[in-house]
C-alpha cells in the first residue's frame, strides 16, 4: 500500500513493549503474574516519546524498538495522564535518538478527510499503516480511566490492539494518538485529537501533571419550548445549554445554579442542542470547558432570571471520584486486624468479583460506590470501607461473615475512610471489638488481645509483608 504521508514519519514511530504487573485489589499484598503487552509511540519535541497511558500502566520494564534497529532500548515514564490516556516516556541512551526527527502536530481534521494510522498492531514487529477517513468528532468516554469523557475523533481506519499510542497522520503532521475502539464494531477506532494532546503537554510544562479540571456541571440541551419559555429566554433564541445538575464542588455551587442557561463558554457561543462550533466542527459544549487548565478561570455568559450575566468560574482538578474509575500505578491500600482484611471500596475492588461483577458484587456495594453520594448525601462516606476477606485463623474462625461486605461501624465509630479502621480498633473499650456491617446491620465480635497476638502469626502464615498500607 502506498504511503502518501512520506516514509520520513515512520522513522519516528517506535514499538513499545511493556512488562507489567497488576495488584490484586481484594488481597492487596498479592500481585498477578507479570504480563507483556505492546503498543506504539512516536518521537515529539524534547526527546520524548508520546504514547497512551494504558500502554505504560503498571509497567515494571519498558522496552522501545526503533524502525530497522535490532537494539532494545530501555525507557522510563516521564509524565502520565491517566484521565487523558496519554503519556510521555524517555530513553536514557542518547544513541536512540540518532536519525530520528520529532513529529509535528496539526489541528483538528475535518470530518470525511483522510488520515493514516501508524503502528504495530497485534504485536507484529513491522510497522503497519492503515488509511481511513474521519467519521465523527464527539465527546466520548475515555475507557482507560472509565469515568471521564473528552473530545475524541472516530475513524474507519483500523485501530487494533498494538496500535495504541501510535500517531494518526494527515498532511505529514500528527492529528491524533490512536487509543481505543469498540469491541465487536468493525471500522470504529478512536484517536485523541491534538487539542487534548496540547492540553497534556501544556499541563506538564511546570514539571508535574495536574489533570483536566472539573467544572462539576451536568449540562443538557434546551430545545423544549415550554422549558425555554419558563426560563424567559427570547422566542427567537436558539442558544443556551441548561445546567441540569451540579457536582458537590463548592466554588461551582456558589456561582452556578440549577437551570442556569450557559449561552457562551469563553469565545464559544453555545447552541441550544448543547454544541459549539470548534475549528469548523460541531462538538459538545464540554469540549470548550475542558480546554481550561487546573486553577484557570472560565468566562461564562449565563442566562438567569431573564437576563444575561457574566460569571468567571474557577476550576480545579477533582479527585473525589477517583475510586469510581480505574486506578493505576498506586498500590491499593489495606489494613489487617486479626486476619480481617479491610480495604476501600472502589471500582477496582468490585472488578475482583469477576467479569460479571455487575451481577456478582452486591447491589449495595455498587450503589454505595456509584449512587449514594447523589441520592442520599446524608449517609454518604468519603471512602466506604469493605471487609474484603478474612485470613482464616482460630481468632476469627467463628465469624458468620466471610468478607465482601461493607463496614458500618467499629466499636461504635462510624467508618468513613480506611484510616478510621486502625483508630477505631485502638479505641476498643473492654476485651472485645465490635464490628457492624451493612446493609443488614449484622455484627461480629473479636477479642482484641487475641487478635493482636494473632496478627504476626497471620501475616507470617499468609506472607503478608506488612499489617497495613494506608
Amino acid at each position: 500500500m502506498p504511503v502518501p504521508e512520506g516514509s520520513e514519519s515512520e522513522k519516528s514511530v517506535v514499538q513499545i513493549i511493556t512488562a507489567f504487573q497488576e495488584p490484586d485489589w481484594a488481597s492487596p499484598w498479592i500481585f498477578d503474574l507479570p504480563r507483556f503487552a505492546s503498543g506504539t509511540g512516536f518521537l515529539i519535541d524534547g526527546d520524548r516519546i508520546m504514547t497512551n497511558a494504558h500502554v505504560v500502566a503498571w509497567t515494571k520494564r519498558l522496552l522501545v524498538r526503533r524502525y530497522h534497529d535490532p537494539t532494545p532500548y530501555f525507557a522510563q515514564v516521564e509524565f502520565v495522564a491517566q484521565d487523558l490516556d496519554l503519556a510521555v516516556i524517555k530513553v536514557e541512551d542518547p544513541n536512540f535518538y540518532k536519525g530520528m526527527k520529532p513529529l509535528d502536530f496539526g489541528g483538528l481534521p475535518k470530518v470525511r478527510s483522510a488520515v493514516v494510522t501508524y503502528g504495530f498492531p497485534a504485536g507484529g514487529e513491522q510497522i503497519s499503516y492503515t488509511r481511513g477517513v474521519v467519521s465523527r468528532i464527539e465527546v466520548e468516554g475515555y475507557v482507560h480511566i472509565g469515568n471521564r469523557a473528552f473530545l475524541a475523533v472516530q475513524t474507519d481506519a483500523a485501530i487494533n490492539p498494538g496500535n495504541s499510542g501510535g500517531p494518526v497522520i494527515q498532511d505529514g503532521k500528527v492529528v491524533g494518538v490512536a487509543f481505543e475502539g469498540i469491541s465487536g464494531l468493525q471500522n470504529t477506532g478512536y484517536f485523541i485529537p491534538t487539542v487534548i494532546i496540547h492540553h497534556f503537554l501544556d499541563d506538564i510544562k511546570d514539571g508535574a501533571y495536574d489533570g483536566v479540571p472539573e467544572a462539576g456541571l451536568r449540562l443538557t440541551a434546551l430545545q423544549n419550548p415550554a422549558f425555554r419559555r419558563m426560563l424567559k429566554l427570547p422566542d427567537d433564541s436558539k442558544q443556551g445549554v441548561r445546567v441540569d445538575q451540579i457536582l458537590d464542588i463548592p466554588t461551582t455551587k456558589a456561582l452556578i445554579k440549577p437551570n442556569d442557561v450557559i449561552m457562551q463558554v469563553g469565545d464559544y457561543p453555545v447552541d441550544y442542542d448543547g454544541t459549539i462550533t470548534y475549528e469548523g466542527n460541531t462538538v459538545g459544549v464540554s469540549a470548550a470547558i475542558d480546554m481550561a487548565q487546573n486553577n484557570d478561570t472560565i468566562p461564562l455568559k449565563i442566562w438567569r432570571d431573564g437576563k444575561m450575566i457574566d460569571v468567571s468560574l474557577p476550576v480545579k482538578v477533582y479527585t473525589d471520584d477517583a475510586s469510581q474509575g480505574n486506578q493505576y500505578d498506586v498500590l491499593p491500600r489495606y489494613y489487617i486486624f486479626g486476619g480481617l482484611v479491610f480495604t476501600p471500596l472502589s471500582l477496582d475492588y468490585l472488578k475482583t468479583f469477576g467479569r460479571d461483577w455487575n451481577d456478582s458484587a452486591g447491589r449495595d456495594l455498587i450503589y454505595e460506590l456509584a449512587y449514594r453520594h447523589l441520592e442520599d448525601p446524608a449517609h454518604w462516606r468519603p471512602e466506604p470501607v469493605v471487609l474484603a476477606s478474612i485470613l482464616d485463623h482460630p481468632v476469627n474462625a467463628n465469624f458468620t461473615t466471610r468478607g465482601q461486605t461493607m463496614v458500618d461501624k467499629i466499636n461504635g465509630i462510624r467508618i468513613e475512610r480506611l484510616s478510621d479502621v486502625p483508630k477505631a480498633f485502638a479505641a476498643t473499650k473492654g476485651p472485645d471489638a465490635i464490628i457492624e456491617f451493612l446493609p443488614d446491620h449484622h455484627f461480629e465480635v473479636i477479642r482484641k488481645d487475641d487478635a493482636e497476638k494473632a496478627n504476626p502469626d497471620i501475616l507470617e502464615t499468609y506472607r503478608v509483608p506488612a499489617q497495613s498500607r494506608l
Binding site: N224, F227, M230, N398, I446
Partner: protein
C-alpha cells in the same frame, strides 16, 4: 376444542410450538410429558380412585404489559385441583389472578364446566373453586388429606394430560420452610425429587389414597409442594371463621456462629437463640422486638443457635414456621427473649402480610396496572411486575437502580417509588424523548410519594408550567411542560398512541392497620378508570 387464543408476547414462542401440536388440552408448562395410563392405587377396594378426585382447571386471565400499562392481552394456563368435599376443589392460587374465565374438567371426559373462585389467598398460594353445574359433582369422590404428612418415602404425582390421568413417581426429600411461591412469608413446604416435566401448577401429590400436598413450584428435578397439614389448618380456620390471613415475624435475625456475640450480649450458658438484626419493617407497626434481642423461645419451643426449633411432627424446622403454625395475622406469639442482660417474656402480635409492605411489591393481583400520562410522560409505580418486563434475566437486565430499590425498604415518607417509564414523543415533549426508567422526586414542588400524588401535583402548576424534578443522579433531573396545554397534549397523545385513558389508579388500601388491610384480595376489585371528556 383447539380454539385460537391470544397469548402474551412472552408466550408467543410457546404458541408456535403449541399450534403444531394437536392435543386437545395444552398444558403450557408441559408439552413433553409422556402419558401413562393410570392404575388407580386402591382399585382393589373398589372405593376410591384418583380419577374421581383430580380435576383439570383451565384458566383464562388478563395479561398486562407493564411497560405499556394500557395494553392487555389474554393468557391461558392449565392446572390441577383436588375435590375435597362440600362441592369444593382446592388448588394453588398461582395462575388464578386477573382471571376472566375458569373451566373445570373431570375424569378426562372431554367436557368442561364453568368454575368460579370461592376463596383465594395469594400469600398462602391457596384457592377453593367450585361450579354451579350440579351434574359436575356426580361420580366425583373427595380426597382425604394427610395430616401430618410423611417426610420421607415415595409419592405419586397426578394430573390430567390429554384426558388421561398422568401418574408420575417422586420421592420426598424433606420438609422445610421457605417463602411461599407468591409471597415473602415463609411457610412449610415439601421438597420432592421427581423428573416430571412442567409441574408446579397444583398437581396432586399423593401417597396411596391420601393427598399429601399440591405442587407449587419446580426447579429442575426439585418439585416444591404445599403440605396438606398446612392446607388443612387454613381450611379449618377458615371454616371456623378465625382465618385472618398469614402473619409473619417482621424481623430479620442472624444465627449465632460466633459465641463472642452472645458473650457481648451477656447471655450466659451454651450458645442458643438467634440475634435480631432489623425490626419493624412493616410500615406503621411498632415492633415489640428490638435489634440485638436474642430470641430464646417462641410459643414454648426453644430456638437453637441456628434458628431452628424441634417441631413435634416434622423435627427440626426454622423458627419462621411458628408464625403460621396454627397462628394467623393478628394473633399473639409468646416470645422469650434476652434483652439488657436479662430474660423477658413478651407478646408478639403477628402483622398481616401485605404486598404493599414492600417498597417494590413483588406481586400484584386482580388489579389493573396503574399509570398516569402527563404530556407524553408515562408514570408508573415501581413494582416487581414492571421489573420482570425485562424478561427472564430481569435481575441482570433491568436498570440497576430500579433493581436496587427492590431491596430497599418502605419508609413512612416513601411508601412507593414512581418511575417515568417512557416518553411518548410529541411536539410538546421534544427534548425529553430519551428519558426513561427514571424515578420522579417532585412535581410542581410536591414530593411524589405514590403514584396518586401526581394527579394532585398537576393541579398546582408553577406560573403556568408543570415542573418535573427527578431523583438526583438521573441522567436528566428536570423537565418542564406547559400546564395550559397539558389536557390538549394528553388528548392528542392518547389518540396518536391509541391509549384509552389518561390514567388508571387503584383505590388506596389503608396501610396502618396490621390486620384489617386486605391481603385476600377481593376478586371484583374494580380499578378507577377515568376517560377524558
Amino acid at each position: 376444542m383447539n380454539r385460537p387464543f391470544l397469548l402474551s408476547r412472552q408466550l408467543a414462542a410457546l404458541l408456535a410450538l403449541a399450534l403444531m401440536t394437536s392435543t386437545s388440552t395444552l398444558n403450557l408448562r408441559a408439552f413433553t410429558g409422556t402419558v401413562q395410563k393410570t392404575e388407580p392405587q386402591n382399585s382393589t377396594s373398589g372405593m376410591f380412585t384418583w380419577e374421581n378426585a383430580v380435576i383439570q382447571i383451565e384458566v383464562t386471565s388478563k395479561n398486562y404489559n407493564y411497560i405499556q400499562p394500557w395494553e392487555r392481552s389474554e393468557r391461558k394456563v392449565y392446572k390441577s385441583g383436588v375435590v375435597v368435599g362440600g362441592h369444593q376443589i382446592i388448588t394453588t392460587a398461582d395462575g388464578l389472578a386477573d382471571q376472566t374465565l375458569i373451566r373445570l374438567k373431570k375424569q378426562g371426559d372431554g367436557l368442561f364446566s364453568l368454575g368460579n373462585v370461592v376463596w383465594i389467598d395469594y400469600q398462602a398460594n391457596l384457592a377453593v373453586l367450585t361450579t354451579d353445574e350440579k351434574d359436575f359433582w356426580t361420580g366425583l369422590q373427595p380426597a382425604r388429606l394427610a395430616d401430618p404428612v410423611p417426610i420421607t418415602g415415595p409419592v405419586r404425582i397426578l394430573r390430567w394430560q390429554n384426558d388421561r390421568l398422568e401418574n408420575r413417581q417422586g420421592e420426598i426429600d424433606q420438609i422445610t420452610v421457605e417463602p411461599s411461591a407468591l409471597s415473602f412469608v415463609s411457610v412449610p413446604v415439601l421438597k420432592i425429587d421427581s423428573t416430571i416435566p412442567g409441574a408446579g401448577y397444583g398437581e396432586a401429590i399423593t401417597v396411596n389414597d391420601k393427598l399429601i400436598g399440591l405442587a407449587s413450584q419446580q426447579d429442575g428435578d426439585a418439585l416444591t409442594a404445599i403440605p396438606t397439614s398446612f392446607i388443612t389448618s387454613i381450611l379449618q380456620a377458615r371454616q371456623a371463621k378465625t382465618y385472618t390471613g398469614l402473619g409473619y415475624f417482621d424481623f430479620t435475625w442472624d444465627p449465632v456462629e460466633n459465641p463472642l456475640c452472645l458473650d457481648y450480649l451477656k447471655l450466659p450458658g451454651p450458645p442458643r437463640g438467634v440475634i435480631v438484626k432489623e425490626t419493624g419493617l412493616k410500615p406503621g407497626v411498632v415492633s415489640p422486638v428490638h435489634p440485638r434481642d436474642v430470641i430464646l423461645q417462641i410459643d414454648g419451643f426453644d430456638i437453637d443457635a441456628e434458628g431452628n426449633y424441634r417441631d413435634p411432627q416434622y423435627k427440626k424446622l426454622v423458627l419462621e414456621n411458628l408464625s403460621s403454625r396454627g397462628k394467623w395475622a393478628g394473633m399473639d406469639c409468646k416470645l422469650k427473649i434476652w434483652r439488657d442482660g436479662k430474660e423477658q417474656d413478651i407478646l408478639y402480635r403477628l402483622p398481616k402480610a401485605d404486598y404493599s409492605d414492600e417498597l417494590v411489591p413483588n406481586q400484584s393481583f386482580d388489579k389493573d396496572p396503574e399509570y398516569v400520562l402527563a404530556g407524553g410522560l408515562v408514570f408508573v409505580p415501581l413494582t416487581e411486575a414492571y421489573l420482570r418486563s425485562w424478561g427472564m434475566n430481569w435481575r441482570q437486565r433491568a436498570p440497576f437502580r430500579l433493581f436496587y430499590y427492590n431491596m430497599d425498604k418502605v419508609r413512612p415518607d416513601r411508601p412507593q417509588r414512581v418511575v417515568l417509564s417512557q416518553v411518548l414523543p410529541s411536539e410538546a415533549n421534544i427534548g425529553y424523548e430519551s428519558m426513561r426508567n427514571t424515578v420522579i422526586d417532585e412535581i410542581n414542588g410536591m414530593k411524589i410519594k405514590q403514584i396518586s400524588d401526581i394527579m394532585t401535583a398537576l393541579k398546582s402548576p408553577v406560573n403556568g408550567f408543570d415542573v418535573f424534578k427527578f431523583e438526583p443522579g438521573e441522567p436528566v433531573q428536570w423537565a418542564v411542560l406547559d400546564a395550559g396545554e397539558m389536557d390538549h397534549t394528553n388528548q392528542e397523545i392518547m389518540t396518536r398512541y391509541h391509549i384509552p385513558a389518561d390514567h388508571v389508579l387503584n383505590p388506596v388500601v389503608a396501610q396502618n392497620d396490621p390486620v384489617k388491610s386486605t391481603a385476600s384480595v377481593p376478586m371484583t376489585q374494580k380499578p378507577a378508570v377515568t376517560h377524558l371528556p
